[in-house]
């Protein structure tokens, strides 16, 4: 009995409270939505938003690890998503006859999407993370644009003879039974939509496990030490470049996984979707939720993805209102007075809790 109590108490202790809340939000949210789905009470609009929201949450969690925990600005998260998305589409397309089961194909696609994004993240990280300053931001910004241009000019098809590639102009002549997987600026068309909300939620949970385990581990403390004081970190024997690399590669991998899920949720995906604006959008989710705050990231992503859709009733004014709400939220969350008010509220609440706890004892 006593053991159990301390386990629960441990879950809500100062250190692990945010982790527990993150998991609770996702699990409770999932159960609620599944209930609504089963009883047929969820409108088509919400249903169509389920998978994209999970994708953005995973990508934003990855980015928060990189921007919030490791302190390196990454402006190319959309590029990694793009890699994962088109990799996932190619894998799923190539395996469609070999593995008819959509779920298995989806999992393979997500794993390979995460893998290719991590590998490219590693390749970029090797030279860049050895430098000090904002170089990662510049390089990832360029990387995102390069990936977009490359895929815009890439033609990939598959026929019984295997994969066929062509660049800049479509020179593929596919054998009968073949199909185009990526056709340049037209992107991927006719993709089997095999992404599901449940897989998305599992992906979020995996992302949370990875991110929190990393933060609470020795490596995580090393990552934060590098962020806070590079020289001090180096002086105690931490290899700064390698440590930052860990956060960056995990971040890229999560974006790749999110991209694969995203790509397999739509029958058509154009490379131009993953542009600089999308990278910034994900960064906005992260910053609004709070740097290093995973729970905040989850909530802000959900709110900001839903907001423009919920405002549809306002017709032409919705984008205006969206922008105003965004600015107001940014200002408020950085305002000293509001912060003081919140911390006061927090203190009162925790006082209540301790009193309760005392009374219980």
């Amino acid at each position: 009995m006593k053991n159990k109590k301390s386990f629960v108490g441990n879950l809500f202790s100062r250190t692990y409270r945010s982790r527990t809340i993150s998991f609770l939000i996702i699990i409770v949210g999932y159960i609620l939505i599944e209930l609504l789905l089963k009883t047929g009470n969820l409108s088509s609009m919400f249903q169509s938003l389920l998978v994209p929201v999970t994708c953005y949450i995973v990508a934003a969690l990855g980015l928060n690890l990189n921007v919030g925990v490791s302190g390196e600005l990454n402006l190319g998260q959309a590029g990694f998503m793009s890699l994962g998305a088109f990799m996932g589409i190619c894998v799923s397309g190539a395996l469609s006859s070999a593995i008819p089961n959509g779920l298995i194909r989806l999992v393979i696609a997500i794993v390979l999407g995460a893998l290719i994004a991590s590998v490219l993240g590693f390749v970029i990280g090797v030279p860049v993370l050895k430098l000090q300053g904002d170089y990662l931001a510049i390089v990832t910004l360029a990387f995102g644009e390069i990936i977009k241009s490359l895929i815009n000019n890439m033609y990939v098809g598959i026929d019984p003879n295997g994969f066929q590639f062509s660049f800049v102009e479509n020179k593929l002549s596919l054998a009968p039974g073949g199909k185009m997987l990526i056709s340049g600026p037209m992107g991927a068309t006719g993709t089997n939509r095999i992404a599901t909300f449940s897989v998305g939620v599992v992906l979020i949970l995996i992302a949370l496990v990875i991110v929190y385990n990393l933060i609470y581990s020795r490596s995580g403390r090393a990552i934060q030490a590098c962020r806070d004081n590079r020289i001090a970190a180096e002086s105690v024997g931490i290899h700064v470049a390698n440590t930052k690399m860990l956060a960056f590669v995990v971040s890229a991998g999560l974006a790749g996984a999110a991209g694969a899920l995203y790509g397999l949720n739509y029958s058509t995906l154009i490379p131009a979707k993953f542009d600089f604006n999308l990278s910034i959008l994900i960064l906005v989710y992260v910053v609004l939720g709070g740097l290093g705050n995973m729970t905040g990231t989850i909530i802000s992503t959900i709110v900001l993805v839903l907001l423009p859709e919920l405002l549809r009733g306002l017709q032409d004014y919705r984008m205006l209102i969206y922008a105003v709400i965004l600015i107001v939220m940014m200002i408020l969350s950085n305002n000293e007075k509001v912060k003081n008010l919140l911390s006061l509220l927090h203190q009162k609440l925790s006082f209540g809790k301790t009193k309760e706890a005392e009374a219980n004892e």
Binding site: L49, L283, V287, D316, A323
Partner: protein, 410 residues
Amino acid sequence: MKFEKMLKGGLAAVMAMSLVACSGSSDSSAPAADTSTGSDTTETTVAAAGAFKLGGSGPLTGGASVYGQAVKNAAELAVEEINAKGGVQFEFVMEDDEHDTEKAVNAYAALKDWGMQVSLLTVTSAPGAAVAPLYKEDSTFALTPSGSSLAIIYADLINLADPYGNVFQMCFTDPNQGVASADYLSTHTNLGSKVAIIYKNDDNYSTGIYEKFVNEAADKGLEVVYAGTFAGEDNDFNVQLSQAQANGADILFLPIYYQPASTILKQAKDMDYAPTFFGVDGMDGILAMEGFDTSLAEGVYLLTPFSADASDDLTKNFVSNYQNNYGDTPNQFAADAYDCVYAIAQALEASGATADMSAAEINDLLVEQFTSMTFNGLTGTDVTWNTNGEVSKAPKAVIIENGVYVGVED
């Protein structure tokens, strides 16, 4: 510190962008004497008794909002006229998809929640290709005014097989525009014989027309002396233009949208290069562009199914009504949308469908009608559709003279 600064700078940029995106829609919403759009629930329940719910999505904000607004305005105009006549009644809602595949799927879901029975699909191609399979799944009839990509009507693009069957197009497909352009140039040799092409190679509309044009040109004996590309927001075409000039091209084929085309016209003039400029329907809208010196477009040919100066009564009425309501001259997107609503009305009338039928029932009736009927509208006479959803109508060539489109007599 630096890091924080960059963050703030980036976020400020985002806000600025979202504000810019808004301003796109403000210009056309000013003369809003319309009552037909309301998506508030009270109106819906009142009109639901006898009106078909007509939906659609398009870019009402953002870079491509010119097209979305034109379609929205013209469709509203057509709905008002048809409702005033009696007979088939419509209730029309246009959702914003920001020319984005993800938003288009969301917009479709919102329309579905509203209870849409018939649809104008989307205004632009890529969003259309993303939602077309959903229309097929849910058996809702769709007729797109301006989504010209083949991916909108075919699931299998390689063999052009496996059409959705209930998604129809009012405009030409991209390849058809390429074929029609090559046809026109090869039969009008007075325009020139050496063709240079500048196209946007990260855009499926542009590459689609280009590829088909080059194939056709070879068969028809047209000589393509140069093909230059650009991508994204490039706005310097001096290299491409001097290459075209150096290769002796006397026709410059521009299968691109009007924004880059306007820059090309300006830069060609600055370097004293004056070939015959030949555009397709994306060129439509160049005269309405803000800050564009229309004298640069003098003598530009474009292949479009609609010219606002045509002298038939239908066009005259449409243009004057549109100008009265919205304050500018309708372009081809508007005309296509207007025709779409009338074609749907005609088919509904002929099929005897009633507004209390489900979307799937209406879908079956409309598919049957569309594959058998003939439609006369602004953008063509004796318009027919095949079972794949492709339209068959004759393209018209117009030339820009004194700042207006003038039909070219054959």
